[in-house]
Amino acid sequence: MKSNFKDFFSERINGTKDWLEDVGKLDETVTKTHSEIRHTEHLINTLFEVNTPKKEKHVSSSFPISYYISAGICIVVILVVLIATVCSLPEFGVVNSQMKEVSDRYVQSGMKETGAVNAVAGMILDYRAFDTLGESFVLFTALNCVWILLRTNRSSVERYFPLTEDNILVQAAKVSVPVILVYGIYVIINGHISPGGGFSGGAILGAGLILFSEAFGDEIAGKFVTEKRFKVICSAALLFYCLSKAYSFYVGANHLDSIISTGTPGRIISAGLILPLDIAVGIIVCLNMYGIYCMFKKGRV
């Protein structure tokens, strides 16, 4: 029995050795042919001067020393000038008498005129609402530019290790994603009563959606946020923001009375248009963040 095994294996090993020798010979022939082809190519190139080898362009790995010196001097001068500027302004923590005129009214009459307990929310969504309108459109512009650059239809995602197989992430996400989403909704809805608002709540919701997509995979997230739903909801939120602010500005500029009342401060349904605008801004920020993330990850929403 033993000798049979020994013969069997030595046959196999000899056979493999012969096979390896043949492969080695084949490899030699291939290498020789390859070098002959290169030699002929080089001859043709020199004879007919096709594809002259480019001059070796030396990419210097650092700037010339004069650039560093001049940049250093510039930076030191700028630092000294900036510190001198800042030191001649009012001190930190001291009341600045020039700013009192504007900020006092926001705090004093903010609750009465806008109905918002949070004076900052009242300021950005009522007194200075045009800036916030522009800001939402800055995010929209960024999403458009990223769409132009990164939108492809490629079907595969180049990943070394798909995160859906990481058990720690999946189990942690099962617990934390619902909490994050609910917390985001809480921050948005309570934006005018407590610290928070549309922008911070939208960022929290966007982060929750990104975690959901990473932990559970593209297909499940794609069923929840499809491209058509994404476009429709994003455009609807932006249109609602534009039209409601258009109504509010038109009514204010022409000294008409607005039909929207400010309600009693401190309740959730109050502060006029601030709550719906907070919700619209939250949706816009959340979807834009998620959209930009999807463009980077897989090239489409």
Binding site: K100, E101, V102, E113, I148, K231, C242, A246
Partner: protein, 495 residues
Amino acid sequence: MPFIINLPFFSVITCLIGAVLCSVFNDRNARRVCVVSIIIVIVFSASVFIQTASDGQYYHYVLGHFPAPWGNELRVGPLESLVCCGFGIILLLSLMGGDEYININVRREKRNRYFVLINLICVAMVAIVYTNDLFTAYVFLEILTLASCGILMIKEIGKTTIAATRYLILNLFGSGLFLFGIFLIYTMTGHLLMENIHEAIVLIVRNGNYDFPLTVACAVICTGLAIKSGLYPFHLWMPDTYAYSTPTSSAILSSFTSKVYIFLMIKIMFRVIGTDVEGMRNVMNIYLLFGLIAIIIGSVSAIKQHNINRMIAFSSTAQIGYIFTAISLSSVSGIAAGIYHIFAHSVTKSLLFISSARIIGVSGKSMAFHDLRGAAKRSPFASLMFTVGSLSMIGVPAFAGFSSKILISSAAAEKENTLSLVILVVLALSTILNTVYFLRTVINIYSTSKDSEKREKLYPEYVFASIMLAVLNIILGCYSVPVIKAITSGIELFI
């Protein structure tokens, strides 16, 4: 109050809604929405101009229920509405002139996003021209920066991506400096609305307690805006940006985007800070110096180019130098000459870019001069339009370039010191340099070559756009007096 006071605000809302709608429609409907919203902006601005010019005064439009300094405001006068109308016309004609190249250079599924970005550029222009608030100007300035970068990258080749990166990083540095200036001004004055800031600055100059920060704030704001509009030391992003993208984008970027920044700078320099501040006067002298250097260096660099689009882009550097020289004379006639040159340059540059695209197209898509020989036989109409643009840039009488050069020279001569002599000499020298490179190109195009069969296919929108631009050029050149009167009376209400 007549209903017409609402029209500037309605133009903003129309463009915003147009941008949102363009993102959901397909490319043909998106193009219609875009063209319709720009036409609405032009019509509304023209009506507001007629109303305010006949009344002879400006008005404040309160956005919301709260007046300045607590709420936001627009300030509408004849100059703002005239500038808005003019910019809208140039945007529309650039869009129409490069229309067929949009279909070639932009992929079908991304075409509607291109029109979204053009709508956003339009709304940013309207908001910056009309606003009376410094922080609103910053927000819409950022929209303009990001959207211009977007229309630059729409043609997806390596060169535009590199140009977009360089353009974006330099522009963002400029925006950062501008934001720092706004924060400094807010710290010193406590206001963000332009007229309130001006009153507070007058008080500060009288008391003399914040001299150094005020100078630094002026310097920082003006440097930021100079980086964004491409004044001399910061002009290196211009040739790559303008030369390689689709012709509509090149025309919009070169004739429109930089000029909006210059208009905002005029507003801030004269309405917010004012020439009483010592720091502002020093900054204006520096602008004058760099403007003169830019004129010479831009023309000399343009002569050295072998590529037609890069040559046109370098000549933009020189023209921006003209505008800065005129504005930094800080007299009413100087500012009027600067604004007139803004119009003249925009009209001419758009015409040059959309015509050179056709000339390149019939010469085997090569931009080098030796490949463009004899292009006149291959596409006679485009070569004729290019010649009209070149003659205007050189300064031949009856074209817009000649009137604007005369206006800048007379504004300089009013000062009656050695500085005006220097400016006149530099202007004369630059006319000679302009002639060298533009006339050389025109002669190149009209010379004979072997390949001379007529290959042009005249696209009707291109024909309409280029004829309108050429007609506007000749109108600005021959009938400059009423235009200048309108601008000057507008400036007195503007400052």
